[in-house]
Symmetry: C4
């Protein structure tokens, strides 16, 4: 079995660094070049230390936002949390300005994904100060959400994320077709339950019924809406078996395939050897000329070298 070994050529992280240097313009010399090497690259000890410090700062700031949302904690520690939030905002502002300063094409960086994330990380706190009536317009919860987006600053440090993203992109057509099929089933089954159960049992509209259908087919099963009629329960059972079966049936088929391949390749201990011999005649036949195994049960000639195979199973050991 052939596996893909780790490449000895430059890894994905280094390639991305090279691409960024081209796209944003790495300065030629001076303190700006040094700043670029520290902030954008990770080769030097200073660059690596900067990355580590920034990761901790991001994680810590997220924790502050999470804690600030818990009412008892906000009451007790409100001033400290506010102070921490301002500290992080100033820190990230400094980082953002430093990034802009240390590239040749700052507008290009500002318009890139990470540039926008960096801006979004600091904007809420300034908005809350500069636009006094903001609290009345936007719920403070929305500001919390915008701060939470700082988590995306972390993904520049995990190259596996990009590998995951490209793997998903490569299979996107299959995923879309699969999703389309699931949505079709959710639509039809949901409407069916809407007809059968009706608003008096909780299925007040087709969108509500579709929401219930999704909770049922994905085997989540909140239980806020449940079928009461016998026909409804029958349809629900079919949907549950379908949603679970989509996971269970292929898993079983794949396992059966692999098991039968393993049994073709090597004899397995079995309480009734005669039975196994009769059931799987070809299980452990071995070509006398080239020694290959795994021949189909009805094969009479070796597929690798053409020599005639023995008819019966040679008992193992």
């Amino acid at each position: 079995m052939k596996t893909a070994a780790a490449p000895t050529s430059p890894g994905p992280a280094a390639l991305e660094a090279a691409q960024d240097a081209q796209r944003f313009g790495k300065p030629q010399r001076g303190w700006r070049r040094r700043g670029y090497e520290v902030i954008f690259e990770s080769d030097t000890p200073a660059g690596h230390a900067f990355d580590v410090a920034l990761i901790w700062a991001i994680v810590a700031s997220i924790v502050v936002v999470i804690l600030a949302s818990v009412a008892p904690l906000a009451q007790r520690w409100g001033t400290w949390l506010q102070a921490a939030e301002w500290t992080f905002t100033l820190l990230f502002t400094a980082e953002y300005l430093a990034r802009l300063a240390c590239v040749d094409r700052p507008l290009r960086y500002a318009r890139s994904f990470y540039g926008l994330i960096d801006l979004l990380s600091v904007a809420p706190t300034y908005l809350a100060v500069l636009v006094p009536g903001l609290h009345a317009l936007i719920d403070v919860r929305v500001l919390r959400l915008l701060r939470i987006f700082r988590i995306f600053k972390l993904s520049r440090y995990a190259s596996e994320m990009h590998f995951l993203a490209s793997a998903i992109a490569a299979s996107r057509r299959k995923i879309l077709v699969f999703l389309g099929f699931v949505l079709m089933v959710v639509l039809v089954a949901g409407t069916l339950m809407y007809v059968v159960e009706g608003p008096e049992h909780g299925f007040t509209s087709i969108p509500t019924a579709m929401y219930w259908a999704v909770t049922t087919m994905t085997t989540v099963g909140f239980g806020d809406i449940t079928p009461r009629t016998d026909l409804g329960r029958l349809i629900a059972s079919s949907m549950m078996l379908l949603g679970w079966g989509v996971l269970a049936v292929p898993t079983g088929i794949v396992t059966a395939e692999m098991s039968s391949q393993r049994r073709s390749a090597a004899a397995e201990a079995d309480p009734a050897p005669i039975l196994r011999t009769l059931l799987q005649p070809g299980a452990a036949r071995c070509c006398s000329a080239c020694g290959s195994t795994g021949h189909q049960a009805d094969a009479q000639f070796c597929r690798r070298c053409g020599t005639r195979l023995p008819a019966e199973n040679r008992p193992p050991d």
Copy 2:
């Protein structure tokens, strides 16, 4: 590992188009032939544009049906939704009549799956008008369901659906046996819980207990019926472990198989090298010339220096 390459011969969509042309009778000449090419086929720009427009119309009409079922929206926008519904009905009626007109054997099309779907797409609105007392006989919800079936008009545009359908058809015996086994467990376990818990705990009859057993084995777990007695909870735990184990155990076995095959092919870092050598004989073959390890299990030559490799395991250094 050899995979099935993409075919260079005509794809499934083109083959189906050819089959349809034979079955329904593509006209030889005139506007009917041009109409057939636009409506039934997608080769020409007009044909492709027709398909895109029809897909959007289908999706839009489904959205209208969904929105019409939400009571607040129906109250506010009722007239507009009605008008949209009539527009779509007239559109689909025109499409249906056009399809019938542009084939040589219209009755054959009318009796085919898509012909029936097309008829079902427009029938409810006409029925509601032509049969005034229909509202009293059939719930308006049923009419919504019939309109929802328009979604199946979309599946002629997704050839992957047919691939999926034929894959399922090919494995139908395995699926039926698996379902049969699951139903048997649901029946016996459900009746067992009916005996143990009884009607006073919600298990009012065997069908109800079977419905609960399905929600439990498929790990949905609505919670509308739950076991209260200790023995009932014990049986329920076994069922849950069975339903989840059917997914988890094969997944674990398959992963273990693939991992052990990978480890056979390439050496992996291990805290106790002696242990690994003794456990996996082929893992640490060592090239006598250059000393490299990690050779694939079926390799006969060293990939680094080209020297022939020994067949059995030599202990490393």
Copy 3:
């Protein structure tokens, strides 16, 4: 890839028939031999017809038992259901006596698995008549359960069930270890929640907490008991991620393995071919001497014939 083809030797069903003939003693001649061929074997048209009729009778009798447990139906159709139940009981009694009559060693059959199931299928109805006070001693629900066991008579007709059973038996050690590990986690996590949440939040004893732990780890989630404290919810989240991760992580790993193998074997369309070439140098290298592919990225010599490989990737077509 080597697959196990269907054997051309006698199938498992025929082998079982041969085993039964040996074990129970197929009569040599006369009407008893003819009876054996019809009842126990399926080769002749009469034997096949008997099997089909019996399967329908079993399914119908199970439906009768299920319907009899639904109170409204029992009230309305009670007499008919009773009559049907007696009909089936007499039918199955006749079948049981016929089986005993047509073998040479009836006691052996009576003690076998199917013999006991056959006896259990008819016993409840007779018991209910012969032992008048039975209703007071055993709940009628228990009698329903015993009748439900007739479903096991069906499994003699599905040879795939035996295949499934032997596959499970072959992996029983792995399954037991896996179950043991899950039970250990359930015990420790359940007790932990019992300590953290306590009886006032529903976790009244360690068995109850273990039941909750099972519903959580198997992702069923009834919701009859839920954690209220923050620490309890944190522990619960870990358990949920563990129970779901046991399914998701191996699935993801297996898919990643297969994807990388596919990419080693054939080039895949990619929006940035240069990037892919740099990231996976060995993806489509082909040995000029023997033509094999799938070489590891750091290989310099072909592992099959020892010839030196080209260093860079040859772009596909």
Copy 4:
């Protein structure tokens, strides 16, 4: 396909025994050597009997702790359970002292994982007696938890556990990245629901919303918190499809891969043979001498007559 064969060298259990003998110091002679062989090793009949007895004692003591937590049982059988608990404590104390006595380096054993578990198994009961006010300080439930940790004494008897542990350790980076990704989704989606639904619908803080997001993405779905707004239900549906899709999509992709490989290797019955031939070039290679099909994809010789096969697809009949 080459699988890792069962090693003929000493198994992992024996290797661990050897490592323990080195680490803790197996005595050279006398009763201490005999004691070491019985207690720490399993080669002799006495050693094996000791292991079996100890396993039963551990299981029995865990059962006692579990039963003692059930209030009705504690009331009825309190004295007996207490007596049993003291018996086991004394038993395990004797075992612990015996282990310490029969090694040359007792402090090393006392500091090892199993040494600490052994100490933790007996400590609670002594603490409860020696420190009278302990009940007021530590809930008796905590003492139960400490006793439950005796279950870990069992894992020295299951070498598969270590195999499982090392398999997980080998993949820990992949697992961490996967978990990191899941946590990122949980954080963002949870905060989004916190914004959309708000405290009046149960989403009182970001941690609470994250707990709900975990129950939803892992398809557990307790139902203690559920979305009420339409937008919230839409976001919830996306999360459910994501959590379930992570399991379903790879499973489907893997199954499709394996099915297509199987179909490459052997011809499968198909209602449109022309279609299949055109779609899967390698499927219908035909031996020119005997005309058989269904050859494996890597076969070079016909398995029925030994003649060399053509490389490309020849149309059948």
